[in-house]
Symmetry: C3
Subunit: 149 residues, 3 copies
């Protein structure tokens, strides 16, 4: 196994990151299942296969799933970058794990709050909780590399 | 040239990944060309430059291009992460290349099926084919780093 | 600090990349503020908290912020990948920094042009300027790894 993967901090980052990627895949699967159940397809060719062009239509819950997915792309994908770089800046394992874990829990709660339409501001609070370690990592990385601008 | 790039598996991953990134850029170029040809602009300032505010409007084929692009973001971008990490977990070159190649072919077919509106379920099958190596890589990575959670 | 971060070119790439990630976060914050000010919420539960379901509606400027954010995802996220790999292919520091700086300036101008709705084709030109270093990096990477396909 390669050198990088034997690094504790990087491996801890990878563990939570891959779980979050799988979480994103699950949202895509849920979206597809809701499209089938509600008969609401974004493409005419899919509607034709499932009953007719009248099912080429939008559905509020499908759109909710879409928004949850897009929000994950806006936040989880930058985390995959920030977390990897941050792991290479030499933080302590305990502090690094705290960053990754807070982000992970925040994003899982965000998805639950989105898909279950929990009362506001539950979802927004989960979003903010997850952004705190991201901003912390971004600032620590900038401090580490500012001399190379 | 740096150490990582002299790694066969990582280089194989990089090859297919960069081709897929270029494929995403091509979708963006196609979307722009369709907007110009169909005169359907998302922004009033673009419509004004190309004939008037009446062209600030949606077009079904532009929206199809957009959906193809967003679906690529949902799938190709996580692959860029999973494939890089998976390359570092020490798979055999033949098995790793198979993962990357199946994903690459699946995503190229997905884009073709989307842009040509091929009969369902062609596009969905291409999506599923491409997800198989992603799930395989995700599970192999989790196995490799689970001890560091 | 880890080996990779002591690499000048990689550190230069990381510097501009993290600034661009922060720029994406700023677009998200602006979108949220515009939603509150214009009372235009994508989710009924948010509208209910801020005055009632009549505020579950779209707003043209919120949609503009959304498009700016999505366009960043389409372009900044692939850059995070291309730039990291390109840094490992052994370019000269001056040439590499030029690539990163042109992309950075192009994307900052793109966001400004989008959010201020500057006259066309300002935004499109900024997009094209930023794509040039991306295509250059993509082609240089492909050249470096083509033997491993």
């Amino acid at each position: 196994m390669a050198v990088m993967i034997t690094n504790d901090i990087f491996s801890c980052f990878v563990f939570y990151s891959v779980l979050l990627v799988i979480k994103m895949y699950v949202i895509a699967i849920i979206t597809g299942q809701v499209r089938l159940r509600k008969k609401a397809f974004a493409n005419p060719e899919d509607a034709l296969r499932h009953g007719g062009l009248q099912y080429h239509r939008e559905d509020p819950y499908v759109e909710r799933c879409r928004r949850a997915h897009v929000n994950d792309m806006e936040n989880v994908l930058p985390f995959l970058f920030l977390g990897a770089i941050y792991s290479l800046t030499g933080p302590s394992l305990a502090v690094a794990r705290l960053h990754f874990l807070v982000f992970f829990v925040g994003r899982v709660l965000h998805t639950i709050a989105y898909l279950l339409a929990l009362r506001a501001p539950t979802r927004s609070l989960a979003y903010i909780v997850a952004q705190i370690p991201c901003l912390s990592m971004a600032l620590q990385i900038l401090t580490a590399v500012a001399a190379y601008a």
